[in-house]
Symmetry: C2
């Protein structure tokens, strides 16, 4: 049984062909992808199925959705896809205005922020916009 198959099973996801392929697809890139990106990578499958697949992954805690300000949802594998650690992904994301790519800066955690009285924090989303390392190189 392949590695991916195991990962899916650990997350209580049936390892169908498309799901295996999508996991592979996601694990091969280090940037967050849109549904369109995924669609372009799969001639064989259909928009709806891919949509539902990524949503399944999300529900089961395999991927997280990122809102980078472009208005289009992006997805990336959770850091510890295999582990049991379901703690929130409080790392931050960087969106490059040039290449339009969004990167998970998994080593950069969001610092603690004290809120006014009465506010209860459950989740956080920090996106930094600017120029990424690749684009700032090739001037």
């Amino acid at each position: 049984m392949g590695d991916i198959e195991l990962v899916l099973k650990e997350h209580h996801i049936r390892p169908t062909a498309i799901r295996l392929l999508m996991y592979k697809f996601l694990s091969e890139r280090d940037i967050a992808v849109t549904l369109n990106d995924i669609e372009s990578g799969f001639d064989k499958s259909e928009r709806t199925t891919l949509y539902r697949t990524i949503k399944t992954f999300e529900k089961k805690g395999l991927v997280h959705q990122i809102d980078d300000g472009t208005g289009i949802a992006k997805y990336a594998l959770d850091e510890k896809g295999t582990g049991e650690n379901q703690s929130q992904d409080l790392h931050l994301h960087f969106h490059c205005e040039k290449c339009n790519e969004t990167i998970c800066l998994t080593d950069h955690k969001i610092p603690h922020i004290s809120l006014p009285k009465g506010f209860v924090s459950k989740d956080m989303n920090l996106v930094i916009k600017g120029i990424c390392d690749k684009c700032s190189e090739k001037k």
Copy 2:
């Protein structure tokens, strides 16, 4: 000449009737509003006009757009609408999962974050999700 008229003129925006009304509308609430919210507040005017009006405000630095993760753009007046201070609005936003309202926490600035080599930061967006003060009161 009214106060609002002056504010608009300072931002090089022609003070038409709709624009004056929209500014008033925005200044009357302390939460970020969607285009739909605005539309509901104006029987007289039309979606497109309101859309273009808010976009004009945005371009001229009167309002900022907030992406709170709901997928729907929200807008709020900049802190110093009147002043010359065009420095980025690096305050954070709080999105309440219960009442769905998004609040500018203008007093809470986003802390400095050091990025990996090659990354250039131009703008930041931090949204904290949870329960707001009003909703946590009335259990």
